[in-house]
Amino acid sequence: MILVAKLALGMASTIVLAGVYTFREGVIRVDVDEHREGGSHVHVWVPAAAVPMALHFVPKQNFQRLPKEANDCLPLLQIVTAELRKYPDTTFVDVEDGDEHVKVATVGGKIQIDVVSLEENVHVAVPLSTVNDVVHQLADNAPGI
């Protein structure tokens, strides 16, 4: 009986620790709500640490097919995501135009993009560290960067 209890406790601890490890970088949140009839409603929450982890399993040749525009942007993204973490929470861009509102901000170590309009609401939040990790991996594996 004690052995079963120990096994159960060990498994529970492992699951909890795995959960803590998986969610250590927070979550990537994507919410899309189209206001038209039959419009899409997409709500995705993905553990941020899972994305760079998953990239390790992508065959290397796929990275070499990155378009030139992406290659140009990667060094920029590396710098921006590394630097933005040094600053306090800030709204970098805020555009209001009648019923439309676009906001790009950093909130708690995440880059958050909010688009609110009559047609749709889009909210995207990605930890800066995750973007930085992904960009580093892409840059390391893509030729000519």
């Binding site: 970088e25 927070g26 630097e83 970098f92 805020d94 555009v95 170590g109 930890p127």
Partner: protein, 212 residues
């Protein structure tokens, strides 16, 4: 019979700790403000555009100068390379900017250019280490006395050190990164103000990461 309970204490404590800390780890980023701190010496460039048209568009941009300094050299597009913008003589319509700048730098404070016409008033001056440009655009007379009506006003106030840094690269280059560096060493400054019937534009520099 104390041994079994002790054997449970370790894993149990570990589990409880993990359970208690897991929500904290998951939601830490959402609940707490950024752990990184911004030193008070950070300089922020703010741009604010307010349109008074029917929809009332408002644009607010806040950029840390240090970030711009680091990002600019990484952009290589068109005429912008390594934080410098190339221009050629044809862009300048025969004006030698270097000579004009040298003249401006070595001269005493005063008004250099004053143009008054029915369409525009332009004033370029140097005052207390700043280069000042003031442009007033006039529209066709609408008042009873027949005088042109002032419609758009543009005020530019740039520290001379920034102008020097801007032209420090070479004859046909503008060193934007050097200009930003010089700007970051400067105090709070109102750089550009545009007032027109439809829009108000303001570009300024301070140490706050929010616009007023």
């Amino acid at each position: 019979m104390q041994a079994p309970s002790f054997r449970f204490t370790g894993p149990a404590l570990l589990s409880v700790t993990a359970l208690l800390t897991s929500p904290a780890a998951i939601f830490a980023q959402a609940a707490t403000p950024s752990t990184s701190s911004s030193s008070g010496s950070d300089r922020w460039l703010h741009v604010r555009v307010i349109s008074t048209e029917s929809k009332g568009e408002t644009v607010r941009v806040n950029v840390p100068l240090e970030l711009a300094e680091k990002v600019l050299p990484a952009i290589n597009h068109d005429r912008l390379h390594n934080g410098k913008v190339k221009f050629n003589d044809s862009d300048m319509n025969g004006f030698d900017l270097k000579i004009i700048l040298d003249a401006l730098r070595s001269s005493k404070d005063g008004e250099f250019v004053t143009v008054q016409s029915t369409e525009n008033d332009v004033r370029v001056a140097k005052q207390n280490g700043y280069m000042l440009v003031h442009v007033t655009e006039k529209h066709a007379p609408s008042s009873k006395d027949g005088k042109p009506v002032e419609r758009n006003q543009v005020d530019v106030k740039v520290p001379m050190k920034v102008v020097d840094a801007l032209f420090s690269a070479g004859k046909d280059e503008l060193d934007i990164t050097a200009a930003l560096r010089a700007l970051s060493a400067h105090g709070d400054t109102e750089l550009v103000t545009v007032k027109s019937d439809d829009n108000t534009v303001r570009v300024w520099l301070d140490s706050k990461n929010i616009s007023d």
